[in-house]
C-alpha cells in the first residue's frame, strides 16, 4: 500500500516538474536566449562556476538597461559536469533545442575541441573566455582569452629576465591534455630560440584531478639543484590546490624556484593558504588588484551580485581574468547584435570585428578585425599573502593576438580565417 502511495506521489511530482517547464518555453518568443555552458560540478567546477555566475550577472545588467534591441536576454544554463563528450551533447541541446543566439562557455581546450564540430555543423556562435594554446581559428568562435603570445611567451621572457630571476632551466608541468601539451611545445621551441638546451627543459604531466604531488615536487627540487630553475605550470582545475599545498609544505620558496601559472587566478587560490606561496607568479590579462575606475566598478558590481544572489562564500568572492573575459564577451556580443540589428550568426560575426569595449583591465580593448581574438594587455603578478596578486610587470598597452604561434613550424603562412 505504502509503496504504491509513494509511487503515486513521485509520478505526480515528476508530472508537475515537467509541466513547470512548459510556460517558460512558451513565453520565450519575445526574449533572446543565450546559452551558458560551464562545468558546475567535477574537477573544473572550481574554475568554471564563477564564470557561469558572472555571465548571469552581465545578462542581468544588460536586461536592467533595457536588454538587446529592446528584448530581454534569457539565459539557459546547462552543466556539462567536467565531462568532455557531455559538452558536445549540451552544446547541441543549446543550439538545436533551445535555439540560443550565442553560447558563452568552456574552459579547458579539450571541452572547446569537443564542441567545435557541433558549432560548425549548426552554425552556432561560441564565446570562449579562457587563455589557450592557439593553433585554432574558427569562424564560429570568438576567443576573448589570451593566445600564447599574450600570456605564455611574455611570462617565460619575464622568468628569463633579471627581474624574474634569470632562470636557465625550466620545468614545464601540466595536466595531460591538449592545452598544456601544445603550450609546452610552443614554449620548448621558444626556449630553443633563446639558446636553452633540451637537457635544461623537463616536461611533466599528470592526469586531471591528480592529488599526489610529492614525487613531482621532490623532482623539481632535484632538477633545481642543476642551476637557476623556474616552473611553468599549466595545471588545470582543482589539482592546483594539492600542488600548491605540497609546494608550501615542502618549503620550495619563490625566491629559489618561482612557479608561474597560466591557469591559476584569484578564484583558484581561494581554497589555499597563500602565505607559503608569496612570490609565486601568474600571468594573465587582468588581475583583481588592477586599480582603475572601470575595474573598481566591476568588482563592486560582482560583490553586490554575489551578496544579492547569496552565492556560496559571498563575502569572499573575487574577480579573475576569465571572468573579465566572459564579461567583455557578453557586452561585445550585445554591441555587435545591436550594430547588425539581428541575432543572425553570420551577421553578428561580421559585426564583431572592430568592436570596442572599456574593459576592467584598464584599456578600451578591441576585437581584431580579422582574427577573432581581442587585443589585450599582459600582466604578471606575484601571489601575496591575501590570495591576491601584486603586479610586477606589464605591457605598455594591448597587444594583438597571434593564434598561430610563429614558434611552431608550418605556421608562417597562416594568418586570418
Amino acid at each position: 500500500m505504502k509503496r504504491r502511495l509513494v509511487l503515486k506521489q513521485l509520478t505526480a511530482a515528476t508530472l508537475l516538474a515537467a509541466t513547470g517547464w512548459m510556460p517558460q518555453q512558451a513565453m520565450a518568443a519575445d526574449t533572446i536566449k543565450v546559452g551558458i555552458l560551464h562545468s558546475l560540478s567535477g574537477t573544473m567546477a572550481i574554475s568554471e562556476t564563477s564564470l557561469k555566475d558572472v555571465a548571469l550577472m552581465a545578462i542581468d545588467e544588460i536586461n536592467a538597461q533595457g536588454g538587446v534591441m529592446g528584448k530581454q536576454l534569457e539565459p539557459v544554463v546547462v552543466d556539462p559536469a567536467s565531462n568532455w563528450p557531455l559538452f558536445a551533447e549540451k552544446a547541441r541541446q543549446l543550439l538545436a533545442q533551445d535555439k540560443v543566439a550565442a553560447v558563452f562557455g568552456c574552459w579547458t581546450s579539450v571541452s572547446r575541441k569537443s564542441v567545435l564540430p557541433v558549432f560548425k555543423e549548426l552554425n552556432g556562435l561560441l564565446f570562449y573566455p579562457v587563455q589557450y594554446e592557439g593553433e585554432e581559428l574558427e569562424k564560429n568562435v570568438f576567443y576573448t582569452g589570451a593566445a600564447p603570445n599574450q600570456q605564455a611567451i611574455p611570462a617565460v621572457e619575464y622568468l628569463m629576465s633579471e627581474d624574474g630571476g634569470g632562470a636557465k632551466r625550466f620545468v614545464l608541468l601540466g595536466t595531460d591534455y591538449v592545452y598544456p601539451r601544445t603550450t609546452n611545445k610552443i614554449l620548448r621551441a621558444f626556449l630553443h630560440s633563446k639558446g636553452v638546451q633540451d637537457a635544461d627543459i623537463k616536461e611533466v604531466y599528470t592526469p586531471f584531478g591528480h592529488s599526489d604531488y610529492q614525487t613531482i615536487v621532490a623532482d623539481i627540487k632535484q632538477f633545481a639543484a642543476g642551476g637557476k630553475t623556474a616552473v611553468v605550470s599549466t595545471i588545470n582545475g582543482d589539482s592546483n590546490v594539492p600542488f600548491y599545498k605540497e609546494l608550501g609544505n615542502a618549503g620550495l620558496k619563490a625566491t629559489d624556484v618561482p612557479v608561474v601559472a597560466f591557469s591559476v587566478g584569484e578564484e583558484e587560490l581561494r581554497g589555499v593558504d597563500t602565505r607559503p606561496l608569496v612570490g609565486h607568479l601568474a600571468a594573465w590579462n587582468y588581475f583583481q588588484s588592477i586599480k582603475n575606475p572601470v575595474n573598481d566598478a566591476f568588482i563592486q558590481k560582482w560583490k553586490a551580485y554575489a551578496k544579492a544572489k547569496n552565492l556560496p562564500n559571498a563575502d569572499t568572492v573575487v574577480t579573475n581574468d576569465p571572468m573579465e573575459a566572459t564579461y567583455i564577451g557578453i557586452h561585445m556580443w550585445k554591441q555587435a547584435v545591436e550594430q547588425a540589428k539581428t541575432t543572425d550568426v553570420d551577421a553578428v560575426i561580421a559585426a564583431m570585428g572592430g568592436q570596442q569595449f572599456a574593459a576592467p583591465d584598464g584599456f578600451t580593448i578591441e576585437m581584431d578585425k580579422t582574427n577573432h581574438h581581442l587585443h589585450k594587455p599582459v600582466y604578471i603578478g606575484e601571489i601575496n599573502g591575501d590570495g591576491q596578486f601584486n603586479i610586477v610587470w606589464k605591457t605598455d598597452g594591448p597587444i594583438r593576438a597571434q593564434p598561430w604561434s610563429p614558434y611552431i613550424p608550418g605556421n608562417e603562412g597562416k594568418q586570418g580565417l
Partner: protein, 539 residues
C-alpha cells in the same frame, strides 16, 4: 653562559660598528628609506644593500618589514612599519603612530626579496642569536658573492658555536672556489664535497666539465680530481635521498590507500557487501571536517588548530550513522544478492553526492591545515618530510591497531568473525546476526568517515571526492585478499610503494596504468588475493 653570550654580542657589535658606515644612532636616513618605495629597481636594490650595511638594528627591522610586505609609504615620503590593528612604527625614528588610511603598502618582487635576504644575512652574521647567525651563514653559502669573504672571515674569527662555525666554513669554501690559489680551491672543493649538499653541485660540475675548446673549467688537475670525487659523493648522497624519498612517498600514499580501504575491508571484505557508496562515506567524513572547522572558526577561534581532533569522533559518528541507516533500510534486504546490492549502493552513492551538492554547492570547499600540520622537517640534507603526511601515516597505523583490537579482542569482533566464517552456524548458536551486521557496517562506515577527515587534509574536498578513491579501495581489498585485515595493510603499502618507485621513471600517468596492468595479471594468477582465507570457511 650569560657572560659568554654577552661578550660575544659585544664583540659582534663592536666589529659591526667598525665596519659600518658611521650610522646615526638617532635614526635612519629618511631619503634612503624613501628610495625603497620608488619604481626604479636599481635604486631600490642599492637602498636595500645600503641598509644591510648599517649597524643600526632598526635597519634590519625595516628590511624584514619590507620582505614581509609590512612596509608602507605614507604621503609625504614617510615610511611606516605596519604593526597591525591600524598602528604603525615610523621606520626612520621608531616612534609609534597610527597607520594613515592612505598609506600604500610597498610591493616587492622576488628579485628584491632575494636582495633583502642577502642584505639581512650580511648584518645578521653578527647577530646575538646563534640561530640567526646560522641562517645567515647558510644564506651566504648560496649567494656566491665574493665580496662577502672578508665579512665571513671576521665572523669566523669571532664565532664560538660549532654549528655556526661549520656553516661559516662552508660559506667561505663556496666563495673560495674562485680563489687564485689552487691549494685554497682544493681545500674548498673537499669541504664542499663532504657537505653532500646538492646546492654546490652546479659549481663543482662546472669545474670538472670540459669546455668545447678542450680546456677544463678547473685548470689544476689535482683540484679537478678532487672536484670529481666530491661530485661522485654528492651524487651518491642524492641517490640515497631519492630512494629514501620514494620510500616515504610510498609509505604516505600507502597509508592513504589503507585508510580509504580499511572501512571497505570490513564492509566488503568481512561482510561481503559490494558497497559502491563507500567513496561517499569518505566524502561525508571530509565534509564533517569542513563543518567542524566552520563551527570552530565561529565559536572558538582560539582553538582552530585542534579542530581536526574534534572532527575525528564527529566524522566517525556521522558516517557510522549514515552507514547503519543504509544497512537497515537498503542493504539488509539484499544480502546474498551481490548484483542488486551493487546497483542499489551505486544509486545511493549518486543520491549522497547530489545531496551534498545541493547542501554545500558543487564547488570544492576549503579545509585548512592546522598550523601544526603545515610545513615539514628536512632530513638527510634534502628530503622534506611534510608534517601532514607524517601525521596521516601515524593516524593510519593507529586506526589499523584499533580495528585489529576491536576484531580480535572484543565480543563484537568475535561475532563478526564468526558470521564471516559461517553465517548460518553463528545464527544457530545465538549470535544476533542482524544486529551484528548493522554494527559491523556502521564500524566500516565510521572508519571511512575517519579516513575522510584525513583525506581532507591532503586534497580537495568536493562532492566527487569519493569517486577517485572507490576504485583504489576495491583494488586494495581485492589484492589483499577478501576477509583479511593483514592483506589489506600489505596490499595498501605495497601498492603505494610500487606506485611511487615507478613514478619517477614512468611519470604519474604511466605509473597508474602499469599498476592496473600488474593487478590484472596478479588477480588472474591468484584470484583469492595475497592472503587467502584458509579452512572450511573458504568457498
Amino acid at each position: 653562559m650569560r657572560n659568554a653570550a654577552l661578550v660575544l654580542f659585544l664583540r659582534g657589535l663592536a666589529l659591526a660598528l667598525l665596519l659600518a658606515a658611521p650610522a646615526r644612532a638617532s635614526g635612519l636616513d629618511a631619503a634612503l628609506l624613501a628610495r625603497l618605495a620608488g619604481s626604479d629597481t636599481a635604486a631600490r636594490l642599492a637602498a636595500i644593500s645600503a641598509l644591510g650595511e648599517l649597524a643600526d638594528p632598526r635597519a634590519a627591522q625595516v628590511l624584514q618589514a619590507l620582505g614581509d610586505g609590512k612596509l608602507a609609504a605614507a604621503p609625504g615620503g614617510r615610511m611606516l612599519i605596519d604593526t597591525g590593528n591600524g598602528r604603525a612604527v615610523d621606520a626612520a625614528t621608531g616612534e609609534e603612530t597610527a597607520l594613515p588610511p592612505d598609506a600604500d603598502g610597498v610591493i616587492v618582487n622576488n628579485r628584491l626579496r632575494r636582495a633583502i635576504s642577502a642584505a639581512l644575512a650580511g648584518s645578521r652574521l653578527f647577530s646575538e642569536d646563534p640561530a640567526q647567525r646560522l641562517a645567515a651563514a647558510q644564506r651566504l653559502a648560496q649567494d656566491g658573492d665574493p665580496a662577502r669573504l672578508p665579512a665571513i672571515a671576521r665572523a669566523l674569527a669571532a664565532e664560538r658555536s660549532d654549528r655556526v662555525r661549520a656553516a661559516l666554513e662552508i660559506a667561505q669554501a663556496s666563495l673560495e672556489l674562485k680563489s687564485a690559489d689552487p691549494a685554497v680551491r682544493r681545500h674548498a672543493v673537499e669541504l664542499l664535497g663532504r657537505t653532500d649538499n646538492a646546492a654546490f653541485r652546479p659549481a663543482l660540475a662546472a669545474m670538472a666539465a670540459q669546455r668545447p675548446d678542450g680546456s677544463y673549467g678547473e685548470p689544476d688537475p689535482a683540484v679537478r680530481a678532487a672536484a670529481e670525487s666530491a661530485l661522485r659523493g654528492i651524487d651518491r648522497h642524492l641517490a640515497t635521498v631519492e630512494w629514501m624519498g620514494n620510500l616515504f612517498y610510498g609509505l604516505s600514499l600507502g597509508s592513504i590507500l589503507l585508510l580509504a580501504a580499511l572501512g571497505l575491508a570490513i564492509t566488503f571484505g568481512l561482510m561481503g557487501v559490494i558497497n559502491m557508496a563507500h567513496g561517499e562515506l569518505l566524502m561525508i567524513g571530509a565534509y564533517v571536517a569542513y563543518v567542524v572547522q566552520l563551527l570552530f572558526r565561529r565559536y572558538v577561534p582560539g582553538w582552530m588548530d585542534w579542530y581536526v581532533i574534534a572532527a575525528l569522533p564527529a566524522a566517525f559518528v556521522v558516517a557510522a550513522a549514515v552507514g547503519m541507516a543504509l544497512e537497515r533500510t537498503v542493504i539488509r534486504w539484499l544480502y546474498g544478492r551481490p548484483l542488486e546490492t551493487l546497483l542499489a549502493t551505486w544509486g545511493i552513492s549518486l543520491i549522497l553526492m547530489q545531496g551534498v551538492r545541493s547542501l554545500f554547492g558543487a564547488q570544492n570547499v576549503e579545509v585548512a591545515n592546522p598550523s601544526w600540520m603545515s610545513g615539514g622537517v628536512t632530513v638527510l640534507g634534502g628530503l622534506v618530510l611534510t608534517y601532514n603526511r607524517l601525521a596521516i601515516i601515524a593516524f593510519a597505523l593507529l586506526v589499523v591497531f584499533f580495528v585489529w583490537l576491536l576484531l580480535n579482542h572484543t565480543r563484537l569482533g568475535l561475532f563478526v568473525r564468526a558470521i564471516t566464517q559461517n553465517r548460518r552456524m553463528a545464527d544457530c548458536v545465538g549470535v544476533p546476526t542482524g544486529r551484528v551486521d548493522m554494527l559491523a557496517f556502521g564500524l566500516g562506515s565510521g572508519i571511512a568517515g575517519l579516513a575522510g577527515v584525513a583525506l581532507s587534509q591532503l586534497g580537495n574536498v568536493g562532492p566527487d571526492l569519493g569517486r577517485g578513491y572507490l576504485v583504489d579501495s576495491f583494488m586494495v581489498v581485492v589484492l589483499g585478499g577478501v576477509g583479511q585485515l593483514a592483506g589489506t595493510v600489505v596490499a595498501a603499502m605495497g601498492l603505494g610503494g610500487v606506485n611511487k618507485f615507478l613514478e619517477p621513471y614512468a611519470g604519474a600517468v604511466m605509473a597508474k596504468i602499469t599498476i592496473l596492468v600488474l593487478i590484472i595479471l596478479f588477480v588472474q594468477k591468484r584470484p583469492q588475493g595475497l592472503f587467502a582465507p584458509r579452512g572450511r570457511s573458504a568457498e
